[in-house]
């Protein structure tokens, strides 16, 4: 100590070249965390913001009070949905590499969160997602071809070529338009939920944010409004450990966990194994029921790992060890659910291989169809006239004049 001040800049435990070591990461045993009643006094479950709800154990068994929210058929459907998401991501990543689009973002390793969460919602509920919740759409059977046409910005792009790839919008599927400005949707979804309460309906909202983006003011604004008005909303933080090249400690600072951010607001706050399809579904159901019964918001930190690059513009080998993903202690969500179903006798290695082939064929067929409507640089494009539409409900004179000048 030389008595001078020194700035503290958090650093991850390892950088490229180092050996990943997650032994210090405390992970509660599957089944060990209680399931409180949905109308629990938030003060009684403050400890849950520091633990982690898990259902699937290492052996692949479903254990504890959170188990049992899904039938075997539902679990099989969930497995196939996650497989479709992964195959979709793989094909679109390749399409980007082939120059068919400008940009793509995978959710590799995080599939369980959006896929299982979607199954806890009802028609009419609204998600305010980030760019990494494509699983919400695919789990709701949104047409894959439409997603691809958006990614390709082609003639059939539902968003008329205006948005960066993956920034979908699908009101009918409870999927709010993605902005691209981080965190803005977090507070908007709280407002949507407040509106639902004002109108006295039964629809609820689910808002989504990444670990890094919780540092934005809008996260805190959302928390203030959600707690003040007890809005019927599920507040989801997807902690995939990374925000591009920045490890989660930069956004989290000295706080023990992201879930603990909710405690000061008096919002019931859970941490959940995001790579455990069963745990995700059970926790989502709990939070959704709380919202629907007018018990107010729930904050959930989904603990997961971003196994792929941030986007097609990113190369993670520059800032984290390649082996880190494999060393991640919560495993892979698809493998874990597959093992569970095999253990239950509801699934087998052979059927899994066969299902993989079926899913690949389905994605390939969708891709062919999407590409028949064009890709970013080839084939039919959205019309140039569309640049001027939808700025306002009715085109004002100055835009009309500009469109004339543009010669369209």
């Amino acid at each position: 100590m030389d008595g001078r001040l020194k700035l503290h800049v958090p650093e991850p435990e390892v950088r490229p070249g180092g050996t990943p070591d997650f032994s210090g990461v405390k992970i509660a045993k599957a089944g060990s965390v209680r399931r409180p009643p949905v109308d629990v006094d938030p003060a009684e479950i403050r400890d849950m913001a520091y633990s982690i709800v898990r259902v699937l154990n290492r052996a692949g068994e479903a254990v504890g009070e959170w188990a049992g929210t899904l039938t075997d058929e539902e679990l099989l459907a969930g497995l196939k949905t996650m497989m479709r998401v992964r195959a979709f991501d793989r094909r679109m990543l390749m399409a980007q590499r082939q120059g068919k689009t400008s940009f793509y973002m995978q959710c590799l390793g995080e599939e369980a969160i959006a896929c299982a969460f979607r199954k806890a919602l009802e028609p009419g509920d609204m998600n305010f997602p980030t760019y990494r919740q494509q699983g919400l759409l695919i789990a709701d059977d949104y047409p894959l071809v439409d997603m691809m046409c958006q990614i390709y910005s082609n003639r059939r792009d539902p968003l008329k070529g205006r948005q960066l790839p993956v920034m979908y919008s699908a009101r009918k599927h409870g999927f709010f338009s993605i902005s691209g400005n981080l965190a803005t949707q977090f507070v908007q979804g709280v407002g949507w939920a407040m509106a639902s309460a004002i109108k006295g309906g039964d629809r609820i909202a689910a808002v989504w944010i990444g670990d890094g983006s919780t540092a934005e003011s809008d996260f805190h604004s959302g928390m203030v409004f959600a707690s003040t008005y007890k809005a019927p909303v599920v507040l989801n933080i997807v902690n995939n450990q990374w925000a591009i090249s920045t490890f989660q400690g930069i956004a989290k600072g000295g706080s023990g966990t992201f879930a603990a951010r909710g405690l000061g607001f008096g919002i019931p706050s859970l941490r959940v194994d995001g790579n455990d399809y069963l745990a995700v579904h059970a926790a989502a159901k709990w939070a959704v029921e709380r919202a629907r019964r007018n018990l107010g918001p729930t904050l959930i930190e989904w603990v997961t790992y971003r196994a792929a690059a941030h986007s097609t513009s990113d190369d993670p080998s520059a800032y984290r060890p390649k082996e880190e993903s494999d060393a991640w202690p919560l495993g892979d969500p698809i493998k874990r659910l597959k093992n569970h179903l095999v253990l239950r006798g509801a699934w087998s290695e052979e059927r899994h291989v066969q299902a993989e082939a079926e899913v690949d064929a389905e994605i390939l067929a969708a891709q062919k169809e999407a590409e028949s409507h064009g890709t970013l640089h080839t084939g039919p494009k959205p019309s140039v006239r569309d640049i001027f539409e939808d700025v306002y409900e009715v085109m004002p004179p100055h835009l009309r004049r500009q469109r004339q000048k543009a010669g369209v």
Partner: protein, 337 residues
């Protein structure tokens, strides 16, 4: 016909729309129980209930952010920023979100939202209660920007803004709340009850967005103004006996180019006046529009009068505010030019 201040007219516009349309909700800082620091929402909570009019946390981005979500749900939120000077925390939500929601979702989601805020100086509010940030909004595609100059317009324009299916920025010149302030700060302001535009019909009437009004017909020059400056320009023209045609723009975007063009072609001279800072102010846009549409009809260079390019000072408020002397002097220059 009832006579109202601008505050009462704004309150009445809220009340009319809230009675007519259950989807209209009103909130903001001190807006609910107390009725707003300028009293523009007084009585609304009592009449329509806490579900429809309520107090918000002091969080402008949260107020606009939640309002956007409500609008996407299908409500018509009308939110108040306590002062235009405090809208900046909400700027991202307005610019990146409200203004673009329809466009980016190809009409899948829309944002019928009104963001009201008191604007302008003249109340010794210093740099944080005096600003005129209209150009920060007129520069943004997808927004409409409205500045009323009297009670009659305020009510009719606010009703149109609430009924509009796109986001509207509604700037209320606070120096006009209680009377048509003409820049002469030494004498008490005439109350709206003595002004013809203080006569405000009961019930619903709408003034379409995008339509300017001629406040005073004339043939010597055209003055383009809005908000407080309409009254300042009128007084300056009267004092100097100048036959000025004074155009009250009322809506900045969409702009009534047709009326502007007709007036400037008639007079051949143009003065642009606003209280906001000069550089990149809305006046620059007006000058460009006039040059584009009327160049060969102009007999003199277009002149701008605006606030100095400094923060709004406190003690020197009346040296900052573009009052009658500066506006009148500029009129003479346009006539001589």
């Amino acid at each position: 016909m009832p006579r109202m201040t601008m505050i009462e007219a704004i309150r009445d516009a809220h009340a009319v729309k809230m009675a007519e349309d259950e989807d209209v909700v009103v909130f903001g800082e001190d807006v609910g129980y107390f009725g707003g620091v300028f009293r523009c929402t007084a009585g609304l909570q009592e009449t329509f209930g806490k579900n429809r009019c309520f107090d918000a946390p002091i969080n402008e981005s949260g107020i606009v952010g939640t309002a956007i979500g409500m609008a996407a749900f299908g409500l018509r939120p009308v939110v108040e920023m306590q002062f235009a000077d405090y809208v900046y925390p909400a700027y991202d939500q307005i610019v990146s979100e409200a203004a673009r929601l329809r466009y980016r979702s190809a009409g899948d989601f829309t944002c019928p939202l009104v963001v009201r805020m008191p604007t302008g100086g003249g109340i010794f509010g210093g740099q944080t209660h005096s600003q005129s940030p209209e150009a920060l909004f007129t520069h943004v595609s997808g927004l409409k920007t409205v500045v009323p100059s009297n009670p009659y317009d305020a009510k009719g324009l606010l009703i149109s803004a609430i009924e509009d299916n796109d986001p509207v920025i509604f700037l209320e010149p606070k120096r006009l709340y209680n009377g048509p302030f003409d820049g002469d700060h030494d004498k008490p302001v005439t109350p709206w009850s003595k002004h013809p535009l203080g006569e405000v019909p009961e019930g619903r009437y709408a003034i379409p967005l995008g339509k300017a009004a001629i406040r005073r017909e004339g043939s010597a020059l055209t003055v383009l103004a809005y908000g407080t400056m309409v009254h300042v320009a009128e007084a300056a023209a009267d004092a100097l006996g100048i036959d000025a045609e004074i155009v009250d723009l009322r809506t900045l975007v969409p702009l009534d180019v047709e009326l502007i063009e007709a007036s400037v072609k008639k007079t051949g001279r143009c003065l642009v006046v606003h209280e906001a800072t000069l550089t990149s102010g809305f006046g620059a846009e007006l000058v460009a529009v006039v040059a584009d549409a009327c160049f060969y009809h102009l007999e003199a260079p277009i002149v701008r009068v605006a606030g100095w390019d400094t923060p709004y000072p406190h003690a020197q408020e009346w040296d900052y505010f573009p009052g009658q002397a500066r506006v009148g002097g500029a009129m003479k220059r346009v006539l001589e030019g």
